[in-house]
Amino acid sequence: MRETAVTWCLLLAGFLAAWSVAAATLPVPSYMLPSPGAVLAAGQDLVVKGILPTYIAESLRRMVLAAVIAFAIGVPAGIALGMSRRLAEFAYPLLNFFQSVSGIAWLPLMLVWFGFGERTILVAVNYTVVFPVALNTLLGVRSVPRIYVNGLRTLGAPRWRIARDVILPGALPSIATGMRLGLAYGWRALIAAEMLVGAHGLGFMIFTAQNFHLTARIMLGMVVIGALWLVLDYFVFRPLEQATIERWGLVQR
């Protein structure tokens, strides 16, 4: 583990050195390939001016909102549809279709409906997250063995108890997978929507920087976008998925 960390640091140092040398010697204008120092300076500048923290907060706020709404809508919808075989068969092709048309593809229509602004971004991102969640919830519900449902029913449990005590726990691993996939799509959709609609946020930041050839700012934005997602994925989604799979899933030890 320590060895890996050391190699990692060496690799990073080597990469930064190569980048600096390339930026200093290659015959391209500096806006094509800014030096690592320039990227750092851009970062410092953006932090001092307060632009970066504001935009990060803005993008994260939209993402959290989308996650909460998608969870609140997608999971109950998936469970309700999944509990009846006929409903599930009916809903599956629709959910699959709407999942496959990404929120970004709806963006032009949403722009006509809601105009250039916050609302369009939120609707597009929510749309992108909610369908994978609903679809995976439905699949998870369908994968719960009938025998458990029948068992509880035989013991006289009402429908809501079956939903709460059998279906929901049984579908949790699938729900976690759906959330992770949906949010991964949603994060990218958010960046794209911020570029196209242009109302604050990290996507907006790197997109406008391109107009002014502020390449250092673009690179900094990319590092922040990648790092933010990585942190969320490693420290929030992956443990969540792992926990649900270990607790309720098919892991046999």
């Binding site: 094509m32 068969e89 970004i104 006509v112 570029m195 391109q210 997602w229």
Partner: protein
């Protein structure tokens, strides 16, 4: 004869959706400019199919997907296996790959436009980039999860490095590679649509975004439906069979 019933079950929901759509627009609940009638969309789609504009854009988009796959998949699998050969290097590069993975797609667009200008190169770059990192990451993970016993067994029996690569590592990593390809098409296709909206003047993304400027909601809907249908067809006819085949052939090989 199961498939007619399956087809009916698959199409029925869409039929119902169109009926609801027709009723809503006919009753005048929404203005025509916000949601055109279904027959209007069909007419527009038909006209676009006849004058060829629909096909040009479909071919432009699909061509980029195909190019992205043809360039990236061999490169990514090669790089993934090469790195996976050394356990230490793999452990070091996995977080790096994971970082680029999380960055892949549309976030590269401003940089791509700075480097390559507006046009098909930038858009194709987005696609190539997205596919490369997802497949590379999955190959790396796949190679790493091949049980070492198999490796040792082939080595003990006098297998060369070539045997090891082509008969142990690549087949062992195959389910993971195919899952990566499938995911990369999903992510890449979305990124491509977004990139086409911004950086080029062909393709389905451009088609719908440009139509938005003129409030041509019927054209937008034709584009959206086309995008969805293409994805469903790819998924059903290419990706699912491919995945099922690899899993049957190579997957779930339990360690002894």
């Amino acid at each position: 004869m199961r498939w007619p019933r399956a087809a009916v079950n698959g199409l029925l929901p869409f039929g119902l959706l169109v009926v609801v759509w027709a009723v809503v627009t006919r009753a005048g609940l929404v203005a025509e400019i916000f949601l055109p009638r279904p027959e209007e969309v069909v007419r527009t789609g038909w006209a676009m199919a006849l004058d060829g504009s629909l096909w040009t854009n479909i071919i432009a988009s699909l061509g980029r997907v195909a190019l992205g796959l043809c360039v990236s998949v061999p490169l990514a699998v090669g790089a993934g296996v090469a790195v996976g050969l050394s356990r230490r290097l793999a452990a070091v590069l996995e977080p790096v790959a994971s970082f680029f993975n999380s960055l892949s797609g549309i976030a590269w667009l401003p940089l791509a436009v700075t480097w390559f200008g507006l046009g098909w190169v930038s858009v194709t770059f987005i696609m190539v980039n997205t596919v490369f990192f997802l497949v590379f990451f999955n190959t790396l993970v796949g190679v790493r999860t091949v049980p070492r016993v198999f490796e040792h067994a082939v080595r003990t029996l006098g297998g060369s490095r070539r045997h090891l690569i082509f008969q142990v590592l690549i087949p062992g990593a195959m389910p993971s590679i195919v899952a990566g390809i499938r995911m990369s098409i999903g992510f890449g296709w979305r990124a491509l649509i977004a990139a086409e909206m911004i950086a080029t003047s062909t393709g389905l993304g451009f088609l719908i975004f440009n139509a938005q400027n003129f409030h041509q909601t019927d054209t937008i809907l034709v584009g959206i439906i086309t995008i969805g249908l293409i994805w469903l067809a790819t998924d059903r006819l290419v990706l699912q069979p491919l995945e099922r085949w690899t899993i049957e052939r190579w997957g779930l090989v339990s360690a002894p």
